[in-house]
């Protein structure tokens, strides 16, 4: 069983602070995706990383894929209340047709 562990589970910060959330696994993934889900809605894709060591930036969000393709991080600079939501990582492993989501990090940014 390939598990994706996300940490922290909950994070509450003030507007303007920086934060990093993590997605870790003991298994190698062919690709890893980050999604954000708001209450009452489905998850929305933020980014897909496929190459070990890859870094992608999306405005104030920076995503990194570990060199061994087993882990990833999401860093948010100068968080805003609009960043509030549930952040989910998902990994796809083609060799066994497996795809899993992490349990998510629930982020609250207070104004």
């Amino acid at each position: 069983t390939q598990l994706l562990e996300q940490s922290p589970q909950f994070l509450s910060i003030q507007e303007g602070e920086n934060l990093t959330v993590y997605c870790n696994s003991s298994s190698v993934f062919s690709s890893l995706q980050w999604y954000r889900q708001e209450p009452g809605e489905g998850p929305v894709l933020l980014v897909t990383v496929v190459t070990g060591g890859e870094v992608k930036k999306l405005k104030r969000l920076t995503f990194q894929f570990g060199d061994a393709r087993k882990d990833s991080s999401l860093h948010i600079t100068a968080a805003q209340p609009g960043d509030t939501g549930l952040y989910l990582c998902a990994g796809a492993a083609r060799n066994n047709n497996d795809m899993r989501f992490g349990a998510g990090t629930r982020l609250t940014v207070k104004p």
């Binding site: 995706q33 489905g42 897909t48 796809a92 795809m99 899993r100 989501f101 349990a103 998510g104 629930r106």
Partner: protein, 112 residues
């Protein structure tokens, strides 16, 4: 136009009933998925279909059966509903297996 749509959005039913949730995508994607999200917000894949062939069938009860009349539709049929089936069910699609997934708005199922 909504990319991935699900109906109904809310479904309240009694234990033992049989119900279906419909999903349609207008993105021309080859792969569709069904997920169950429980009260703790853990999103668990149930099924995925690629070109009408089942790729993943997680260890879900056989009371749950996906039905795909065509590439744009993947419906979820549930027999003999149980209390533990209460959750939000999401449909999603991607252009290829493991690719970017577009999610529907979810169906909140409540079994009484």
């Amino acid at each position: 136009d909504t990319a991935v749509s699900q109906t109904p959005k809310y479904l309240v039913t009694q234990m033992g009933n049989d119900k279906s949730i419909k999903c349609e995508q207008n993105l021309g994607h080859d792969t569709m998925y069904w997920y169950k999200q429980d009260s703790k917000k853990f999103l668990k894949i149930m099924f995925s279909y690629n070109n009408k062939e089942l790729i993943i069938n997680e260890t879900v009860p056989n009371r749950f059966s996906p039905k795909s009349p065509d590439k744009a539709h993947l419906n979820l049929h549930i027999n003999s509903l149980e209390l533990g089936d209460s959750a939000v069910y999401f449909c999603a699609s991607s252009d290829k297996w493991g690719g970017e997934q577009f999610f529907g708005p979810g169906t909140r199922l409540t079994v009484l």
